[in-house]
């Protein structure tokens, strides 16, 4: 068979062999499959991790609910133990008794507000009182500080004042002459 005139030697040299085309096709398909498998594996891994996390959340929620129930139960038990009838019975067992008016002595502490209370209205009044006290602490004749330190300070100040008055009354005439 005679060689076709338009078939150049270069084209002939570059023409792909059939086995090469088949290899390329196979590689492409294999790569595609590998990518799909990889995607599947990644998806499965992700889904598995999500499911595991979800399951852990469910377990933790169940544990939280259980702890909540235990907490509620313990709160109720504490409240029952702190109930007034039980406390009074226990106090009486220990030898205490309810005070009568004759056994009460009232002591007023100038400037000391009543102890804090759960009563919100009283708490608000207390807060307002404290605020007013702090704002006007220098002008107020009330000293809410009843500590030992403040008592000593008061005593020292009182002693100094007495001493000063003594000197002033004793030597005021001479001092006046000197200053003039």
């Amino acid at each position: 068979m005679a060689k076709k005139p338009d078939e150049h030697w270069l084209a002939h040299a570059l023409r792909e062999a059939p086995w090469r085309t088949q290899t390329k096709m196979t590689s492409f398909v294999l790569i595609l499959i590998a990518i799909l498998v990889l995607m599947g594996v990644l998806y499965m891994a992700q889904a598995s991790r999500t499911a595991t996390a979800g399951r852990e959340v469910q377990v933790l929620e169940a544990r939280r609910d259980l702890l909540q129930q235990e907490n509620d139960y313990l709160r109720a038990e504490i409240a029952a133990l702190r109930s007034i009838p039980r406390l009074i019975a226990e106090a009486e067992r220990l030898g205490y008794h309810s005070a009568s008016p004759a056994e009460i002595q009232y002591v007023t502490l100038p400037g000391v507000p009543e102890p804090p209370s759960f009563n919100p209205a009283e708490q608000q009044l207390l807060a307002e009182f404290n605020e007013a006290l702090l704002a006007d602490v220098t002008a107020s004749p009330i000293d809410p500080d009843e500590t030992l330190g403040s008592w000593l300070r008061d005593q020292t100040a009182s002693f100094r004042q007495g001493l000063r008055e003594f000197f002033v009354s004793s030597f005021s005439a001479g001092a006046g002459e000197e200053s003039e």
């Binding site: 499911a51 996390a53 709160r75 009838p85 759960f118």
Partner: protein, 567 residues
């Protein structure tokens, strides 16, 4: 041959292609098409279950933060026999915890020949908290332990009529639980939960209930209840009641009834005992009403504290003869003596001189005939017939003056006396001091004046007269070291066709200290057997109670030497 084979292959390929296309179409139809909703619903039914999230009910505390009502789980306990692997151990534990027969439990768990095993067998509902907790810690396979929320009242019967109760369906009834049911319940969430771990649950959000702080002082409440229980026993009374009210703020410090009920066991016994007699029932208050009649007579200028009247043995008003309790005439009588001797003729004279219009106008201003508006469920208004009402007779004006023919709740009487103690002003009686919302915000209930039936001057005059009346009679209601104003009452009990000839209601309403009243106390004893007069039954109980009350309220006696620290 070759061509024919190729043709067949082409046909087969075409057929497979068409089938493939149909399958793809069907897949798309299921995934995105008209069948999508149907299959989604089918799938949801498989792995989603509807859930109702009932948030924790708000707690209730007294004014000092003592817990009065909280939530604690009870449990439903059952078994799924097919899931149990260690029958012996499960039977041992359940038998020990539930007190059931071990062999009976084993018979439930092990399949008998010819019998089909039920998927679930209920063993106990409700089971106590401690039993459920123990079983949960055991982690027994095949044992189902489901919590059931339950309201728990740690103080048991204390303040039971104030609190009310919560039924198993989570609804509050009576008292605070009934009145504030919506606030305490919170917002219930409705949604669905998925059994697929990575699928999120859906539904409306829920919000827990508000926490309430009451005006009740538990120490005073306990004192009132123990004092009352003792008094009911001592006097052989059928029932009794003590109410402590702060006349300046309207706060109820204690509301005790005898008998009480345990709200943890509300379902036991007669349902009538669940009602709060202080607000849910009425009575004819009797002579305690004379203090109110006197206040109106002074307010309208009909009399002055120094006025006198001629007390005859009887007076006829509206065709009815009114007698004193002793059926005696007392001659020229002062207004204070009228109160001290509790004279019906005098009280009827005052109301008659006032006239129906002014008298009932004043009584309405004192709050009679309408509810006080206290925040407790089921308050009734009482009955006060006025001219024009069916069944009103002229004699009503006379008998109403000494507390007959008119019905009121004990709380209405306390609030009316509150006006005498608080410069003529009635403060709104209330039970809740503060509401703490789930978002942390607080709602404080401020003292509110609901009416001013009399002036401060009249209130002061009546207070002085009541105090003098008690002291002149050396009343057993007096308290050493404290000036008390008050009035006894011995009320008849209306029955069909008249009044019960044998049984009475003895009561005393008093307040003090007179210079700066800080409490109004009502003591009521129903059908006492020891004595019939309120001055001999309720008044001594008042004295005994107030003697301890002033200690709890830290009210120094008037002759108390107060030590001044640092002075």
């Amino acid at each position: 041959m070759n061509t024919s084979f190729n043709n067949r292959l082409r046909w087969l390929a075409s057929a497979l292609f068409v089938i493939g296309m149909l399958l793809i179409y069907r897949l798309f139809a299921i995934q995105f098409g008209i069948d999508r909703t149907y299959f989604i619903n089918q799938a949801f039914q498989e792995y989603r279950m509807p859930v109702t999230v009932r948030p924790p009910r708000g707690e209730i505390y007294d004014r000092d933060g003592l817990l009065l009502a909280t939530n604690t789980p009870e449990y439903e306990i059952g078994i799924s026999p097919t899931l149990i692997t260690d029958h012996q151990h499960v039977a041992d534990v359940l038998s020990q915890q539930l007190g059931m027969d071990r062999d009976e439990l084993l018979a439930m768990m092990i399949q008998q020949e010819g019998e089909e095993m039920p998927p679930y067998i209920l063993l106990a509902r409700p089971a106590p908290s401690i039993v459920g907790q123990n079983l949960l810690h055991e982690r027994l396979q095949g044992v189902v332990v489901e919590p059931i929320p339950k309201r728990f009242y740690p103080q048991n019967s204390m303040a039971s009529h104030v609190l009310g109760f919560v039924s198993y369906d989570g609804m509050g009834y009576y008292g605070i639980e009934g009145y504030y049911n919506e606030s305490l319940t919170g917002q219930i969430g409705v949604g669905e939960r998925s059994s697929i771990p990575f699928d999120e649950s859906r539904g409306s959000s829920w919000q827990e209930g508000a926490t309430l702080y009451l005006t009740i002082d538990s120490a005073i409440q306990y004192l009132a209840e123990t004092t009352l229980s003792q008094a009911v026993r001592d006097t052989g009374s059928k029932t009794g009641m003590i109410i402590v009210y702060d006349p300046k703020t309207g706060e109820i410090l204690a509301m005790a009834n005898e008998p009480r009920f345990d709200p943890n066991l509300y379902y036991e016994g007669d349902t009538s005992r669940l009602m709060n007699p202080a607000i849910n029932t009425v009575y004819e208050p009797g002579s305690t009403m004379k203090a109110i009649t006197m206040a109106l007579a002074l307010e309208y200028g009909i009399v002055t504290p120094d006025s006198t009247y001629e007390d005859t043995q009887t007076i006829e008003i509206g065709g009815r003869n009114i007698y004193n309790w002793d059926r005696q005439g007392h001659g020229t009588t002062t207004m204070t003596e009228l109160l001290a001797k509790s004279l019906n003729v005098g009280a009827a004279t005052l109301s008659w001189r006032l006239g129906a219009s002014r008298y009932y106008e004043g009584m309405a201003a004192f709050g009679f005939g309408r509810p006080t508006g206290i925040d407790l469920q089921g308050e009734v208004s009482g009955v006060m017939k006025v001219p024009g009402d069916e069944g009103f007779y002229d004699a009503n004006l006379a008998v109403n003056a000494f507390g007959q023919g008119i019905s009121a709740t004990p709380l209405q009487m306390v609030a009316a006396f509150g006006a005498l103690a608080n410069d003529g002003m009635i403060m709104q009686p209330h039970m809740v001091l503060m509401r703490l919302n789930p978002d942390g915000s607080q709602v404080h209930y401020e003292p509110t004046v609901i009416s001013r039936p009399i002036s401060a001057r009249t209130a002061d005059q009546v207070t002085t007269m009541l105090r003098n009346a008690l002291e002149s009679e050396a009343s057993s209601a007096l308290v050493d070291g404290y000036s008390i104003a008050g009035k006894t009452g011995t009320a008849q009990i209306p029955i069909i066709g008249g009044y019960d000839p044998d049984d009475f209601i003895g009561s005393f309403i008093g307040y003090g200290p007179v210079d700066d009243p800080q409490f109004v106390v009502l003591v009521r004893l129903d059908e006492p057997q020891s004595e019939e007069w309120g001055s001999l039954t309720a008044a001594p109980v008042f004295s005994e109670f107030v003697e301890r009350l002033v200690v709890l309220m830290e009210i120094p006696s008037e002759d108390e030497v107060i030590v001044s620290a640092g002075g």
